[in-house]
Amino acid sequence: MADSASSPIMKNDTKSNSDHENVVEKLEASVLESPKCKRDFQSSLSDSDSVCAEGETVSKKASYGDRISKVLPKLWKLLPPNVCNTFPQLDSVPKPILKLMKDAEDIVLNLNSVTSNGDERKLRNDAERALTSIQGVLDHTWEQLNTGHWRDVPLVHRHVFSIASLVKILSLLQSQAGGEETLLRLALKAADMGLLLGAPLPPPNECLDLTVAASVLSTSLAQVIDQSGSESDSIIPVEKPAVPFIPTGLVGSQIQELFCPSIEKFRVDHFNPKVPVKIKGCMLHWPAFKKWCDIGYLQRVAGARTVPIELGSHYAHTDYSQKLMTIADFIEQHVVGGKLGYLAQHQLFEQVPELRADICEPEYCCLSDDSIQIDEPASDGTDINAWFGPAGTVSPLHHDPKHNLLAQVVGSKRILLFPPEASAALYPHSDRLLSNTARIDPEKPDYEQFPLFKNIAPPVECNLEAGEMLYIPPRYWHHVRSLSTSFSVSFWWK
């Protein structure tokens, strides 16, 4: 079905396919429920109406399936031929699951080879069957991933999740089950779920790279959205909150500032002796420094990408929960909408290479220090995490095992810093998993419950503005609050 635009199915795809769309929607809902996605489904059913309702001109639309037919060959390249047989690790996967995955893969391969003038009804039934089967594989594998501790789950289940995610993407795009934009969105969501829960396959199947799949889908989706005329050129500036933040609790001494220090100076004065410092003037060349001030840019590049969002006051609070949502939904509800929510400590730049291109790893990260002991398995290079949210997000007082450069790209943050020696007076949680987090809240200290905190030396305080970086030495306690809409990038290295 290279040219599905000529397929009669598509002529009245708004009504006659509704049953089939239900199947897709239902499947999707079983993984993830997104209001945005639901809306997209609705709007895809009455595309022209919704555009008119928004008072915009109905722009010319590419013929249906045009983009998808361009995207599909790129995605097919990612599926290793005969992966179920060339991946010996799969032997440990329960046979009924493996069989179902193979069946789905066979159907999808078969769909690909059938021309558009085949028996439509059969093709649609086949696509539906492949989708339901592969969703069953994904759902069952999800259960396997949730059995036992996440870190103890056999890697092969994550491999299966990756493979099944790609098969789902291919099934969706060949299903003709919805409008082009809808299918691309669902496929992209499947790719992101695969990236979040799956794992890259080892050779010879390393070509199954969901990062590539997601990029291809994301690019194509952006073109579709662009063509439909919505969301383009809408610059959403970052605004300061109406009520400025008034510091409560402890006020610290201002942090030392340096303008573009040499690596040697940084090493001798700060890295080696583990002294925090604010570094100015070192990230003005980042493309992100300009681009990300326009939230519309983030919407366009990554709006349809699914990411984990932390809800609630902060991660150690009882109201804490985590939710998957698209960046577009997150921006709408939380960043612009102002509801508390935090895209925190997420390896966004591995997931979205387009955004990785907007930032530069600081040269200071090449310094190394072998003295720190890290419990986690050694990982090479620098961990780059994104921290994006509205004013008022808080990371409670905690420390991390690695060197940390916190680069403020958009907005501002207030950070309070306590040296490792202060640990006893900060009352760390006794539980192992939270032992790096203090029970004391420096913004609202409870001196009765935590008397040692009364006599503590004043912390170092840092107001980090866009374009500035903060060096936080390993094990240095830090409390972080965003004072405006804020996008920071942290670099952790050993």
């Binding site: 239900n22 929607e25 239902k26 499947l27 809902a29 079983s30 429920e33 329960p94 046979k95 009924p96 069989k99 179902l100 069946d103 069957r129 339901t132 089967s133 969703q135 069953g136 759902d139 069952h140 259960e143 991933l145 949730n146 059995t147 036992g148 501790h149 996440w150 979040l196 829960l197 984990p308 809800l311 991660y315 150690a316 609070h317 009882t318 804490y320 929960s321 985590q322 939710k323 998957l324 949680h429 539980d431 998993l433 939270l434």
Partner: protein
């Protein structure tokens, strides 16, 4: 014994209706061909042909096992194929009286109290060597009836229960001095048992609160659920990561992971509408919960000790699937909550993919009086 009430209740109609055709309804996941000639998702309960009166039914993700007075059949993924139906003969002219299936195998008990293991992948039946008497003292060996009456298996554990109330993690006995166990049930990572006096014990992994001890710690051996002290529990059922029990007065309690609403306790809708479960949850070590929720990959509420669930009438029986819960009430109605992506709550996933509140389950023939429910995997069975 847990089944006692049911045996009593159905013993009368049973004698009268042995000649009648037995009815078994099935809904939910059919991806392994558990019910031939039907789509992968069965959201309207479908009649499965059964020959003779049903002794025991078990469904897992991959297979539907039905033991009747005449035969034992496994349908689904059998012998490395989907959609295969096998009749299994136990030999000696004996009949299966209880069956429990998981992804790869089934445990079977025959009317002589012997235990069999059936490997679904290889389609091979193996009588298990007698393991029950090994640890008894001489005195016990003389007095105890060590025939097996029930089995329960999951992908990670296999339990057997003897007529005298001893429990085995096949083949090793579980030490429970002076306790007479009346039923056992396996979840994905945890197990439940109930004693003659109505006490509930749990053990295994507690990371989703499924043990009901108020924390998320694992327990190596059965530990009594203190929160249920004072109520006599008559019936138990373990889901993949949740647990449900019914008391002798017909009350339902659930605990564990409410990832899909399977606890039957309406969650707050994310807009800050607190509900009792949430508040009570904070009484236990909230920090642990927080961390666990961080770990568990993006989903769910963890309820680490039993909470009562309101039901329209007294509960007669509860049965848990992987992520759903069904109750049969004394008035004969059936209600369910939890995951419905594959129709396991007997309604179309288009209507709802998960129900955090108990919703009524309707069978195609409203005159059918159901006397047993049996859930497993993503499926539900209803039968007379």
């Amino acid at each position: 014994m847990i089944e006692k009430s049911h045996f009593q209740k159905i013993s009368r109609p049973l004698t009268a209706c042995t000649a009648l055709k037995m009815t078994l309804y099935y809904c939910g996941w059919n991806g392994c061909g558990q019910v031939k000639g039907h789509p992968i998702v069965i959201s309207t309960p479908t009649v499965v042909a059964v020959d003779g009166s049903i002794e025991s039914v078990s469904c897992s993700w991959s297979v539907l096992s039905v033991a009747t007075r005449k035969s034992l059949s496994m349908t689904g993924f059998v012998g490395n194929q989907h959609g295969v139906s096998k009749q299994i003969t136990l030999g000696d002219g004996s009949n299966a009286v209880h069956v429990s299936s998981c992804l790869n195998h089934s445990l079977i008990v025959n009317d002589k109290g012997k235990c069999f293991d059936y490997n679904l992948e290889t389609d091979t039946l193996r009588p298990l060597p007698k393991f029950t008497s090994a640890e008894y003292t001489d005195e016990e060996a003389d007095t105890l009836d060590d025939t097996i009456v029930r089995v329960s298996c999951s992908d990670y554990s296999n339990l057997a229960l003897t007529k005298s109330g001893k429990v085995f993690t096949i083949p090793s006995p579980i030490s429970l001095p002076k306790l007479v166990v009346t039923n056992v049930s396996c979840g994905n990572e945890h197990c439940l048992l109930v004693t003659q006096c109505g006490s509930v014990f749990t053990w295994g992994n507690g990371s989703r609160g499924q043990l009901g001890h108020g924390d998320l710690e694992p327990e190596e051996s059965p530990r009594i659920v203190d929160a249920l002290a004072g109520v006599a529990v008559s019936q138990i059922s373990a889901g993949a990561w949740h647990s449900a029990v019914v008391t002798s007065s017909g009350d339902l309690y659930t605990w564990g992971w409410g990832s899909d609403g399977q606890l039957g306790i309406k969650e707050e809708d994310g807009e800050g509408n607190e509900h009792p479960a949430k508040r009570r949850k904070q009484k236990i070590d909230s920090q642990l919960l927080v961390v666990e929720e961080r770990e568990e990959k993006f989903r769910g509420t963890v309820q680490a000790f039993p909470l009562p669930v309101e039901t329209p009438a007294d509960v007669e029986q509860v049965s848990c699937g992987s992520r759903h819960t069904l109750v049969l009430l004394v008035d004969g109605t059936i209600f369910g909550c939890g995951w419905n992506a594959y129709g396991q709550l007997a309604c179309s996933p288009d209507v709802c993919t998960r129900s955090p509140e108990l919703r009524k389950i309707l069978l195609p023939d409203s005159n059918t009086r159901i006397s047993r429910i049996q859930c497993g995997g993503w499926s539900s069975c209803f039968f007379l």
